[in-house]
Structure formats: structure tokens, C-alpha cells
């Protein structure tokens, strides 16, 4: 690596265009929103510049706090489910023979490269009243009914009532797990892959069970990957907009929808800015935690 002073002209030529672009079309827009978040709303929906914490105070009023709390709960459930599903998946991929490993990795990554909007709305056809899931359940129901008719108990179940699976909170959670699972699996896989297998073998050879090895050796060693995956999944699902918008109905609204509403029909950009920056602050905290965890685990592995 070269010191920038040794070749100032080349360094400037390389850095200047993208630095300019990211200052003007990324940093300044964020700064504007940050400034707005302390402002207010004029009578005609214009944004007034000012300095007060009024917008942040409004965000923790009951009506909004409910949505924020719900968003945190949804993001937490999503993260936990992704970890529970993603860890065995990542473990199996990391220890699989190399041919199978590549196939499995590709299978995890492919949905990741399918459009977010399409992946989200694809759940409508699965979950709606006349959807695939209800259709499958009805089929099973009818078979069971037929079976009981054979053994002399006709009409025990009655008519099949389709379940309301769409436009509620579980629908949002299901879609969010679907969308974010790769974000959990990839960092987990990256650490499990690099992990020194002799530790695991030693644990097993010394008589520890698979579960004991998993909980006392594999999981602690995989902590940096777990931290990255958990934080990434949490932040991404906390800021979701599409899944609650398309699948949540009125029950499954999240902060993202509240923000979009302020910048849309409500025309209260100052309040929307404050809500948006609440997610940004959460993101910064998460990034800070991640970097401290990363530096600690680096020193920890030196033992």
C-alpha cells in the first residue's frame, strides 16, 4: 500500500468523483433529513426548520410507540427464527463435502438475487384465503373427513373453513424470514467455514456429546458470525417497508410504513425525518456494537 502523499495527483483523481457524488447525493440528503427531524410542519404541509425535540417526543407517544414496539418485536422474532433455521443450515453447508457445499450455497444465494418485491408478493398467492396453503389444508381436511366417514363417523369435521393467513402480523414475519434468511446464513457460514475443526474433534473425542460440543465449542467459536448475522438481520427487518405494506394489513404496520406515510399522504416530513433517524441511530448503534465485537473476538482468538 502506498502513502497518499507520494502520489497526490493520482489519489485525488481516483477519490474525487465518487467522494463528490457520495457527498452531494448521499451525505447531504441524509443531513437534510437530520436537520428536518428537529423542525416542524407548517400549516400547508411545508417543512419548517427549527430546533426542538418535539418530533422525537411525538415518536414515543402511545399511538406511535405501539408501532415502534411492534416493529421491534417483529424484527426480534424474525431474527430469532432466522438464527434457529440458519445455524443448522450454515453448519451443514460448512461441513459438507465441497461439491455439495457449492450446490447448497448456490441454493441459499439464488433467492437472494430474486427481486425483493417479487419475493414478498409471492406470499400473497400462498397465504390468501383461496391460496396454496389453504388449498393444501382443505385437501388434507377432506381426506381426513373421508377416512372418518369410512370408520363410521361422517361429518365429524364439518365444512372446511379457510384460515385467515394474510394481512396480519404472522404473514409479515413469514415473509421477513424468507427475505432475510440468506443475510443470516452467509455470515454464519463464513465463520463456521474458517473455524478450526480440531477443536470440535477434540471435544467429541474427549467424550462430549454433539449437543455439548455445539453449545460449549461451536457456538462460542462462531460468535463473531452470529453477532454479524443477528445484527444485520435485525436492522434490515426493522426498516422493512414492503412486507408490512403488502402483507401486513392494518395489523402488521411497521416504522417503515409510518415513515412512508409521513412523506406521502400525511405530508409531515419533519416527523417522518425523526422516525427515519430513529432507525438510523439504531443502525449506528448496531454498527458500533459489531465493530467492538469484531475487535474483541480478534484479541480473544489469540489465546
Amino acid at each position: 500500500m502506498q502513502d497518499w502523499r507520494k502520489n497526490k495527483l493520482f489519489f485525488a483523481i481516483l477519490m474525487a468523483p465518487s467522494a463528490f457524488w457520495l457527498v452531494v447525493f448521499f451525505t447531504i440528503p441524509l443531513a437534510i433529513v437530520w436537520v428536518y427531524s428537529f423542525g416542524g410542519r407548517g400549516p400547508e404541509g411545508q417543512t419548517l426548520i427549527g430546533f426542538s425535540f418535539e418530533n422525537y417526543r411525538r415518536a414515543v407517544e402511545w399511538i406511535h410507540l405501539g408501532i415502534i414496539w411492534k416493529s421491534i418485536v417483529i424484527a426480534s422474532i424474525t431474527t430469532a427464527a432466522c438464527l434457529l433455521l440458519g445455524f443448522p443450515l450454515a453448519l451443514a453447508i460448512a461441513f459438507a463435502p465441497s461439491r455439495l457445499k457449492n450446490v447448497l450455497l448456490l441454493l441459499v444465494i439464488l433467492p437472494f438475487w430474486t427481486n425483493l418485491l417479487i419475493r414478498t408478493y409471492s406470499w400473497i398467492a400462498v397465504l390468501r384465503e383461496r391460496g396454496f396453503l389453504n388449498f393444501g389444508l382443505e385437501w388434507l381436511w377432506d381426506r381426513a373427513d373421508l377416512l372418518f366417514t369410512f370408520v363410521g363417523m361422517p361429518d365429524l369435521f364439518g365444512e372446511f373453513q379457510p384460515l385467515r393467513l394474510l394481512y396480519n402480523l404472522p404473514a409479515v414475519v413469514i415473509a421477513l424470514i424468507h427475505v432475510h434468511l440468506p443475510f443470516m446464513v452467509l455470515p454464519l457460514y463464513a465463520t463456521l467455514e474458517k473455524l478450526d475443526r480440531s477443536y470440535l474433534e477434540a471435544s467429541l473425542d474427549l467424550g462430549a456429546s454433539q449437543w455439548r460440543t455445539l453449545s460449549s465449542v461451536t457456538v462460542p467459536l462462531a460468535m463473531p458470525g452470529i453477532a454479524t448475522g443477528v445484527l444485520l438481520t435485525f436492522i434490515l427487518s426493522l426498516g422493512s417497508f414492503l412486507a408490512p405494506d403488502l402483507l401486513g394489513g392494518t395489523e402488521g404496520l411497521m416504522i417503515g410504513n409510518l415513515i412512508a406515510h409521513q412523506f406521502g399522504p400525511s405530508r409531515d416530513w419533519a416527523f417522518g425525518s425523526a422516525l427515519s433517524f430513529l432507525i438510523m441511530y439504531a443502525t449506528f448503534i448496531v454498527l458500533w456494537i459489531r465493530s467492538t465485537v469484531a475487535s474483541r473476538s480478534q484479541t480473544g482468538l489469540g489465546i
Binding site: Q2, I32, F241, G256, I259
Partner: protein
């Protein structure tokens, strides 16, 4: 007594399995355990069923039915003849094309600078330029909207393109940096020693090496732009509908086989581009190892 019997039974099963050496599972070979296999199968069904069903039912000969009524291309013809879908698709290609050209150039320069130079506060700059990757899209979307409104700029294809460039630059930079990590700097030194100037060295030695990274980065930027919904949603105005925005407004109305046909076209297009990008990156990776 009971435990003793269990142990005996266990031993018997053990010898039975040992008699067939093919089925023996090594302790760390989790992918070969039946329970893990069942879990994996379940996860992959969960991951793929909705998308596969969507694609399959875009060929279904029925408007609103979850049962298979026969194969048809009708909805593709319909989607193709839908003028507004057509226009949205053209808009998406224009935005993705222009933003890819600019973000590939800028991102490549940024990636090269970060790979090559040591400078004060590099960690901070590193974090700053990767911020568009990590912050939730909705935050960036509303920020761009607020910015264009504050500058009194009319929303349209230009504002979408500008925003797409901003969020794809960091992705291109990451790809280029990864590519350059395998670069042998003594090649540059050799070129300089043999009398080539700095620019000559750059264009004849460094730049050709970047090639596969540039193609992969450009393909990544193109697919990210083509696929983006949230940021585009906030930066598009009337008359600048992109393909995903159009699909969204159709979905809000009703999920029809026609939307599914349009979505399938988008899926096939992005997956093809991504696979090409991965093959190029994989091949260049092998080259690196070969050296």
C-alpha cells in the same frame, strides 16, 4: 436393567449400520444426518415454493385459480402487449444502463483508491462509503426525496438514476477491491523499471487486470438498479414508472397471472446477469489461484 437392554439394542443397531459402510456418518458430516437433511429440505421448500409457484402459475390457463388448468403463454403475450408495462420496462433499462455506466466508473476508481492508498482517517472513510450498503433503504429513499424537494428538482428518470448511482457505487467498489486483492504489485514495478510512465503502466498493466472485476461490478450495479423498488419508489415522479414500480401498482390492485408473467421475465433477466457475473468472478478467482 432397562438401560442395559437399551445399550445392547444400541450395540446391535450399531453393528447393523457398521455392516453397511456406505451409510456411516462421520461425526462432523452434518449434511449427511437424516434429521439435518429433513430440516434442510424443509428450509429449501420454504425458500423456493412461493417463487416456483409464482413462475409456474404464470403459465396457468386460468385467471384466479390455484389449481392447474393447463399450460399457456397467453399471459406473456398479454404482458408483452401491455403498453404501460412496456414503457416501464424501457424506463428501467434506461435507468439501469446509465446508472451502471457512471457507477461502474466511479466505483472502480473508489475501489482502486481504497485498495492502493494509505491515508489519514481511512477507517472512517471506509465506513462512510459503505454506509449506503448498510442503512435501511427506506432511510435513503426519503433522504433522496427530501433532497430533491429541497433543491426544487422535478422527480423523474434523472432523479432515479442519480439515486441509483449513489447506492451502487459502494457495491462496485467492494467488487473491485476484492479483485485487486489478488494483484501482484511487482508487475507495476517491473513496468516502471522497464521505462513505462505512470499512466502507461496503469492502462497497460493495472487496468487490464481489473477487467473481470469491472464486468462483474457493472453486472452487479445493473441488476441492483433493475431490481430496486424502495429507493425508486421515493424518487420517481408521474411518468417515470420503472418495471418494479409498475409491478407493485399491479400487485396492489390484484395478483394476476399477467403480473406473474412480468415478474418471471424480471427474475429470469436478473438471475441470468447474476450467474454471468458469478462465473466471471469465479473464473478470475481461479486465475488468481493459478498464479
Amino acid at each position: 436393567m432397562k438401560t442395559g437392554m437399551l445399550a445392547e439394542a444400541g450395540k446391535a443397531i450399531g453393528t447393523a449400520t457398521r455392516a453397511r459402510p456406505k451409510r456411516r456418518v462421520l461425526p462432523l458430516d452434518y449434511a449427511r444426518r437424516r434429521s439435518i437433511q429433513a430440516l434442510l429440505a424443509g428450509i429449501f421448500v420454504f425458500l423456493y415454493f412461493p417463487i416456483v409457484a409464482l413462475v409456474a402459475f404464470s403459465f396457468n390457463n386460468s385467471r384466479r385459480n390455484v389449481t392447474w388448468q393447463g399450460f399457456t403463454f397467453d399471459y406473456y403475450v398479454k404482458a408483452f402487449n401491455n403498453a404501460s408495462l412496456h414503457e416501464a420496462f424501457t424506463n428501467s433499462l434506461i435507468v439501469a444502463g446509465v446508472s451502471t455506466l457512471i457507477s461502474t466508473a466511479l466505483g472502480a476508481m473508489l475501489g482502486l483508491a481504497l485498495y492502493r492508498f494509505r491515508f489519514p482517517m481511512k477507517g472512517l472513510v471506509d465506513g462512510w462509503v459503505s454506509l449506503p450498503i448498510v442503512i435501511p433503504e427506506i432511510c435513503m429513499g426519503v433522504a433522496m426525496l427530501a433532497f430533491f424537494a429541497a433543491m426544487d428538482i422535478q422527480l423523474g428518470l434523472a432523479t432515479i438514476t442519480v439515486s441509483h448511482i449513489a447506492f451502487t457505487i459502494p457495491f462496485v467498489a467492494v467488487v473491485i477491491r476484492a479483485r485487486m486483492a489478488g494483484f501482484d504489485q511487482s508487475l507495476e514495478e517491473a513496468s516502471r523499471d522497464l521505462g513505462a510512465g505512470q499512466w502507461q503502466t496503469f492502462w497497460n498493466v493495472t487496468f487490464p487486470y481489473m477487467g473481470p472485476g469491472l464486468v462483474a461490478g457493472a453486472l452487479l450495479a445493473f441488476t441492483l438498479s433493475l431490481d430496486d423498488f424502495v429507493i425508486t419508489f421515493f424518487t420517481s415522479g408521474p411518468g417515470s414508472t420503472t418495471f418494479p414500480i409498475k409491478i407493485y401498482s399491479m400487485v396492489r390492485f390484484s395478483v394476476t397471472p399477467e403480473v406473474n408473467a412480468a415478474s418471471t421475465v424480471l427474475i429470469v433477466l436478473t438471475l441470468t446477469l447474476t450467474v454471468i457475473a458469478m462465473v466471471i468472478q469465479g473464473r478470475s478467482g481461479k486465475q488468481m489461484v493459478g498464479k
